[in-house]
Amino acid sequence: MKHGCGPFFFGGTQMATYDWFFNALGLRDWCDAGTSEAPMSMADLLAETGNAVEEPFYAIPFPSLDALNEACGQITQTRDVVKGLEEGFLAIRPALRAILDPITQPLSWMLDGTLYLFTQAPWFLIMAMLLLVTWYATRSVSVMLFNAFCLSFFAFVDHFEPAMETLAVILVCTVISAIFGIPIGIAMSKSNRLQRMVIPVLDLLQTLPTFVYLIPLIFLFPIGESRLYGIAITLYAIVPIIRLTDLGIRLVDQDVIEAGNAFGMNARQKLSKVELPLALPNIMAGLNQTIMMSLAMVVIASMVTAPGLGVLVLRGIRNLELGVGLMAGICIVLLAVMLDRTSKAALSRIDRAKSKTS
């Protein structure tokens, strides 16, 4: 017992660092009664063969679950806790699925339908449609020319179909984010309590590593169903539009709101005639961010079967096919610039209309 803390043999039972703690509390009997039947860890095996490496005194382990388990069998090991988490999740899974299945089903339909439309319609029709939408949203020739160039480039290098798949997914997820995000943002702007409750959730959604979303979703939804990645993308992308709708409405000039009150507007009129129009530039900025975050996430979500350019990037990584990955990367960058330019141009068109007015 040179260092006083290395494992050693005593009466056939291995001594552990924290034995003294349970001894001091008089819990030795209780501990020994519940000796773990869990399979031995590698460290235990090594210790039993007597080949244990002498550990210096500063190697005293943190009193973690595993370390305490060595001293007292009643304490669960970390792997049991992990297992418990898994079992708990699997136990509530049927209930969760029973609720989530029907309400998320439309998302699958929307994604599948849009994907079908974008991949099956003739290329010239899609191009024409997208350019028309661009023109309607931006009224800018330069943005339209740039978009035409990008779309032609995708087609020219035979990446049109994956690019359109990616675009279709982004489109659906952005629409869903707007449909849910704007009302949530409005509700938050009206209630400080709701705002205090929702903001931590938004912070969580934004700071969680993107991969972490995917794990519970894989167990909740059958792999291969498009809502799996639809939900992952929407959860990630909905945050900015909620935040900026809330902010935008809170920033509306109080004088104008007071005028609305003074002329007898009810809450609905104030919202539709004053607050939403004046908050529109901020809401549009949120929409732009939502689009960009959808794009970021749709690439990562290719790990859970999201179609499109992300699949090619993933193939590039898995098979070390550098060229495939790079070409897909270039297309993603172009798509990103395209979406950003278009939504920014639409935003500035609204700002122009407003600055003409404010």
Binding site: D253, D255, V256, E258, A259, N261, A262, F263, G264, M265, N266, Q269, K273, V274, P277, L278, A353, K354, S355, K356, T357, S358
Partner: protein
């Protein structure tokens, strides 16, 4: 005009800002000062024991320095601010007792408001802004357009219907604000420092416009200002506020000639009395037989000084509607021009 049935009647109005205003109200009613209330109870005294009658068809001007509670007071009339205690009676109806829906109806149909910072909707055209009140009431587009057009024309903005507010100057924006209030076609107009944000020349224009409109429309106007010249020019009834309480109220010429306390003396000492005071206010009963000439009772003293060419020996006969109502000696006129300074201040 029936003097005994005011259009708007404020009785015992108190406003205390803070979380628990009702419970500290008794302290204020027992005479606790604004400073003491803030220090001891962390509540801010907004208004205390306001009693004001506002007559139909008159311009009531509420004047005071910043922080005197005048903007708070005007917002009580349409309950943009809830009173702590007291009555606000409009046309015999206590506004404080109205339900939210009735309150909205009152705001739509009885009172319109003009704001210091215009508060126009930036994304709507001038015409849409002017029609806002009718839009809120759900009137059809055609009525909205004709009414808005009519009043925009009336305030001198014909031809600007399709502009946006930001394309107009401050003075023109406030004309839109006035047109918006007029389009609402309400008996009562609340004007919260409506001309304070405008430069002096434009302000004079707007005051003239308001007086001209008032001659024709006879609305009950409650006008807030911190500018005494403006107050004296517009007021039929002048209310002077200080620290949330009424210091003096009455006919403006009377306040000018008989200020109730040093605060008001201070106020009125800077103004050009010759321009503000009317001959009527200092007319004496007819005694003399011989006059240097006839003057109108509603002219100001400045015009009489010009007429007399500074000769203090003259006496004029004062006429109103062609009838002689009194006389005015130029020496009395000169005396009236000297501001009364209270003994405490003079010492």
């Amino acid at each position: 005009m029936l003097k005994n049935t005011p259009k708007v009647k404020l009785r015992g109005l108190f406003k205390i800002f803070g979380a628990d205003d009702k419970s500290v109200l008794p302290h204020v009613q027992n005479g606790m000062s604004k400073e003491e209330l803030l220090e001891k109870h962390k509540h801010v005294l907004g208004l205390q024991s306001i009693d004001v009658d506002m007559q139909a068809g008159e311009i009531t001007v509420v004047m005071g320095l910043s922080g005197s509670g005048k903007s708070t007071l005007i917002r009580h009339l349409n309950r943009l601010i809830e009173p702590t205690a007291g009555e606000i009676v409009v046309d015999g109806e206590d506004v404080t007792q109205l339900s939210q829906a009735d309150l909205r109806t009152l705001r739509q149909e009885k009172m319109s408001m003009v704001f210091q910072k215009f508060a126009l909707l930036p994304h709507r055209t001038v015409q849409q802004n002017a029609a806002m009140s009718l839009d809120v009431r759900g009137m059809d587009k055609e009525t909205q357009d004709t009414e808005a057009r009519k009043w925009l024309e009336r305030v001198g903005l014909g031809g600007y219907e399709d502009h946006y507010p930001s394309q107009l100057s401050g003075g023109m924006q406030q004309r839109v604000g006035i047109a918006r209030a007029l389009t609402a076609n309400t008996d009562i107009m609340l004007m919260d420092e409506a001309f304070s944000a405008l430069d002096p020349l434009i302000r004079t224009d707007m005051q003239d416009l308001l007086l001209e409109l008032q001659l024709e429309l006879k609305k009950t106007i409650i006008f807030i200002t911190h500018d005494l010249d403006e107050a004296l020019k517009l007021a039929d009834h002048l209310v002077i506020l200080k620290d949330g309480a009424v210091v003096q109220q009455g006919e403006p010429q009377g306040i000018l000639l008989n200020p109730a306390d040093p605060y008001i003396e201070d106020f009125v000492s800077d103004i050009n009395r010759a321009r503000v005071l009317r001959i009527r206010s200092i007319t004496n009963p007819l005694k003399s037989k011989k006059f240097s000439g006839d003057v109108d009772a509603d002219d100001n003293l400045e015009s009489l000084i010009a007429l007399s060419e500074g000769d203090t020996a003259l006496t004029y006969r004062v006429m109103s509607d062609g009838e002689p109502i009194g006389e005015l000696n130029m020496r009395d006129l000169v005396k009236a021009l000297v501001p009364r300074i209270s003994s405490t201040q003079a010492a």
